[in-house]
């Protein structure tokens, strides 16, 4: 039953975290200088009556507490509200932005996980060799590069070969299926690569560090002494035990996929969630911000919960 207790506790904690985040999201954006009213009421030749009507329409004439209660009530009904900026349902805005963002960020993250883990393991296994030096230096270089700068360098490097931005070439006339798919692939390549390269450095360094710690353990020495093959030591004893920090990092990365990558999306004019949130901040579009951060909160909490449950599976000692 210890296992069941652990799961129930984790789930309850996750739900509490989501509720607290919902409240903080509500308060935080309203603390920023400037208000939604500032933008909303700026319509040409607006009379004071018009301005008041606009405030009423969005419920901004009510007290903050009343607004909060209304927000909670609507949220309980699954209603994220209407965007102040384009007057469309927030859920619809978020859906469009997420559909654009997820493939690009997921691709970059998968690239980072695969290559980062691989180079991290190799660097730890080949400790002290030129291979490790090269791997760590490369990882550090990419890790320390500002994302937007790397993106711009890639744009300049591939100018005329790969598209500079956007999600597809909408000017293609009646493209065949293959042409269209190729076009999508060409457009996603640079933004996903930019994101992947920056994240890859982080993965390499953390995986290497986790592996080095494990490789220094007595049981590895015992395995070597028993004459096990290096590949078996690496896979069955070292990598498996180094999985805890790695799985945390992967879960966190996957959780943040829905946050998009604002810098990458800006450099490559990718109409995703990162840019949508940035625009919403500038416009003090509270419903859009609350909705976006709610999705982000739920995603991060969910993947953390997955990581917690995975710990339970990977390391049964946790419940003891």
């Amino acid at each position: 039953m210890k296992g069941a207790d652990y799961v129930v506790k984790r789930v309850l904690f996750a739900l509490l975290t989501v509720f607290v985040a919902i409240t903080i999201n509500f308060v935080l954006f309203r603390m920023a200088p400037g208000s939604a009213v500032t933008n909303l009421a700026r319509v040409p030749h607006a009379t004071p009556e018009t301005r008041l009507a606009i405030k009423r329409e969005f419920g901004l004439d009510k007290s903050k507490f009343e607004q909060y209660l209304i927000y909670l009530r609507e949220l309980a009904h699954g209603n994220l509200g209407i965007s102040f900026a384009n007057e469309q349902p927030v859920s619809q805005n978020l859906k469009t932005a997420l559909i654009n963002t997820i493939p690009m960020v997921l691709l970059g993250t998968i690239f980072a996980i695969v290559f980062g883990t691989l180079t991290g393991v190799i660097a730890a296994w080949r400790r002290g060799t030129n291979g490790e030096g090269l791997s760590v230096t490369t990882a550090l270089t990419f890790y320390s590069m500002p994302t937007h700068w790397l993106g711009l360098m890639l744009v300049i490097l591939f100018a005329g070969i790969l598209p500079t931005g956007g999600m597809s070439n909408e000017f293609l006339l009646n493209p065949s299926f293959t042409t269209h798919v190729k076009d999508l692939g060409e457009h996603i390549a640079l933004p996903a690569l930019t994101l992947g390269l920056v994240l890859y450095g982080e993965y390499t360094l953390i995986v290497r560090s986790a592996m080095l710690e494990t490789l220094g353990e007595d049981y590895i020495l015992t395995a070597r002494a028993k004459g096990l093959r290096p590949a078996a030591i690496l896979r069955r004893h070292a990598l498996r035990n180094a999985l805890l920090p790695i799985s945390t990092l992967i879960a966190l990365s996957l959780g943040y996929i829905v946050a998009g990558a604002i810098l990458v999306e800006t450099v490559f004019s990718w109409p995703g969630i990162g840019r949508a949130v940035y625009d919403a901040v500038l416009q003090r579009d509270y419903p859009m911000l609350q909705g976006a951060f709610l999705v982000l909160t739920v995603s991060v909490v969910f993947f953390n919960l997955v990581a917690d449950l995975l710990y339970f599976r990977l390391d049964p000692r946790i419940t003891e």
Binding site: P33, G34, S35, T38, N39, R42, V43, P44, H45, A46, T47, P48, T50, R51, A53, E57, I82, N86, E87, T96, P103, L106, L107, F111, L152, V155, I156, L157, F158, G160, I161, L162, P163, T164, G165, G166, M167, E170, F171, L173, N174, P175, S176, H180, V181, G185, E186, I188, A189, L190, A192, E265, V267, F268, S269, P271, R275, D279, L282, R284
Partner: protein, 544 residues
């Protein structure tokens, strides 16, 4: 590693992309006239005229909706659009427009004067609610009616002075589509996504993806001059470097507003066109007479001295790389006759500025900073972070102002926070002293003249200026149908504001655009080639 090899590697990476990216073939029209591809660093924020704010949205409405009138090629005179002729009666209080016969909307339904009358009446009815965005355009109108399919009659309370200027910006909407969205006291007008967009302009919108692309196809049933191209597209970039690279890589054919820093690079392979534009940068001085602190800034003599410490030449050279002219008036020179050429920019003369401040009794302290009413003349200048030119402008102003004994410090805020700080507390304009910003005007002067009226407090007013004498002049120009007399009044207002100085005008920027050499026919305008002034530019653009 050469570029091809790198491309191969990245191409391999892209293959993985295909596995996660859903794909669906699509089409974008035929090929004979070609598709003119425009890049912009701005964007269409909404397809709904009751919601849209950005200029690119209004440019879109110009090309997809009928307007009663438009400006001619010189951007000076009104010529027919949906209305073919117009006349006034009842001492200028009634305007009768004859409209095009046999016009149709893109869904095949007839477009008549009744649509125009319905749009006007709807905007009047919901002016304080859902139609607030268009309320200014129907000011002073009592009612519109359409006695038959080709006659529109508009009745005003008083004879107005800017009827055609207002109707030039007024998009006529299809009654059979929009009349379903007047519920909730007109607020449904704002929540309608307007997709698919039913229009009647020279182009129809076939695809729109927010912050990404808007694709337009020639509308063969358009009542006016038919476009030469099959269509045009507007690609929205969020980064100016990639926008410029996209043009150089021939992913797009034109940039509607070229960043100053890219003009030299692009001039080698592309046609660069420029014309005086509508965008003017300004130095705002809080002119609210009710402000309690730093009241010395209300003194016109102090303001005049400050104006002499502005080095416009240096601002134009450094900030706009020469693509601007010294500005002097709230009405930019690009408006033609509306701009009063006798209102000249103040001469940059620090000696004179110092002398004027000395004469005003503002003595310098041992630290070189002047004292006014017992405090240092040290002020915060609010700069909006999304108007990048304000940063460099501040850097030029600060040392020159130090030389006349005024200390300036910068307070950079995003636009929303900046405007909030300027109107604080609660729209009373009591706390701020100075700010840098810009204004993008229209050809008709009414809008720019309105931004300093008391009625625009918390609205467009960003200077705290509120003066009943000026407001009377503003109302009078609105109700002066004789355009020559109205011009005299507009000139008088410019001189009045020049003396009162809620703004020190800095630089009138040029509209600069770049076009690939295989395209021609674009019509210049102060708003660039994609504009809301007339339907000419993209109707006439063609491959050469």
């Amino acid at each position: 590693m050469n570029k091809r090899l790198l491309a191969a590697l990245v191409g391999g990476f892209a293959l993985i992309a295909l596995a996660v990216f859903g794909a669906a073939a699509h089409s974008s029209g035929s090929a004979s006239g070609g598709t003119f591809r425009i890049g912009t660093s701005s964007r269409i924020d909404s397809l709904n005229p009751y919601v849209a704010f950005n200029q690119d949205a209004y440019n879109t409405f110009e090309y997809v909706y009928p307007m009663l009138v438009q400006y001619d090629k010189s951007n000076r005179h009104f010529v027919p659009d949906f209305a073919t002729s117009w006349k006034t009666s009842n001492a200028g209080k009634t305007w009768t427009f004859k409209t095009r016969p046999h016009a149709v909307w893109t869904d095949g339904k007839p477009l008549t004067a009744k649509d125009a009358a319905w749009t006007i009446n709807t905007d009047i009815k919901y002016a304080a609610g859902g139609a607030a965005n268009a309320a200014g355009l129907v000011a002073h109108i009592v009612k519109a009616s359409a006695p038959n399919a080709t006659t529109l009659v508009v009745r005003y309370k008083q004879a107005p002075g800017n009827v055609l200027g207002q109707f030039q910006q007024f998009a006529i909407l299809p009654q059979h589509v929009w009349s379903k969205y007047t519920g909730h006291k007109g607020n449904d007008l704002k929540t309608f996504s307007n997709s698919p967009l039913v229009g009647a302009g020279p182009f129809k919108l076939v695809k729109y993806s927010k912050n990404d692309i808007a694709l337009f196809q020639r509308n063969d049933s358009f009542y006016g001059e038919k476009p030469k191209v099959d269509g045009f597209g507007l690609r929205m970039f969020s980064n100016e470097d990639t926008l410029v690279t996209a043009l150089k890589s021939h992913e797009i054919d034109a940039i509607e507003a070229v960043p100053s820093t890219a003009i030299k690079t692009l001039s080698k392979g592309f046609n660069i066109r420029s014309t005086p534009g509508m965008d003017q940068t300004d130095f705002i001085i809080n002119s609210n007479r009710r402000k309690t602190s730093h009241r010395e800034l209300l003194d016109p003599k102090v303001k005049a001295a400050m104006a002499h410490a502005v080095d416009r030449k240096q601002i134009i050279k450094v900030v706009f790389l020469g693509y601007a002219k010294p500005a002097s008036s709230i009405i930019p020179p690009a408006t033609g006759a509306w701009h009063d050429r006798n209102v000249k920019p103040e001469k940059f003369d620090l000696k004179l500025a110092n002398k004027m401040l000395d004469q005003a009794g503002l003595k310098k302290g041992s630290d070189g900073i002047r004292r006014a009413n017992g405090h240092k003349m040290s002020y915060e200048v609010i700069t909006p972070t999304d108007v990048p030119s304000t940063n460099r402008t501040f850097q030029i102003l600060q040392p020159d102002f130090r030389k006349i004994g005024i200390n300036l410090t910068q307070k950079a805020l995003d636009s929303t926070a900046a405007f909030d700080a300027m109107t604080a507390p609660n729209g009373k304009y009591l706390k701020f002293d100075l700010a840098l910003w810009d204004w993008v005007g229209l050809i008709d002067p009414d809008f720019m003249l309105s931004v300093v009226t008391c009625a625009q407090y918390e609205g467009w007013n960003d200077s705290g200026y509120c003066n009943p004498t000026y407001d009377k002049m503003y109302s009078r120009q609105q109700l002066t149908p004789n355009q020559a007399k109205r011009k005299q009044l507009v000139w008088k207002m410019q001189k009045y504001l020049y003396a009162q100085k809620p703004y020190i005008w800095l630089a009138a920027q040029d509209a600069v655009w770049a076009v690939a050499k295989n395209w021609g026919g674009l019509v210049a305008s102060p708003q660039g080639p994609f504009n809301s002034i007339n339907k000419l530019s993209l109707t006439r653009v063609h491959q050469q």
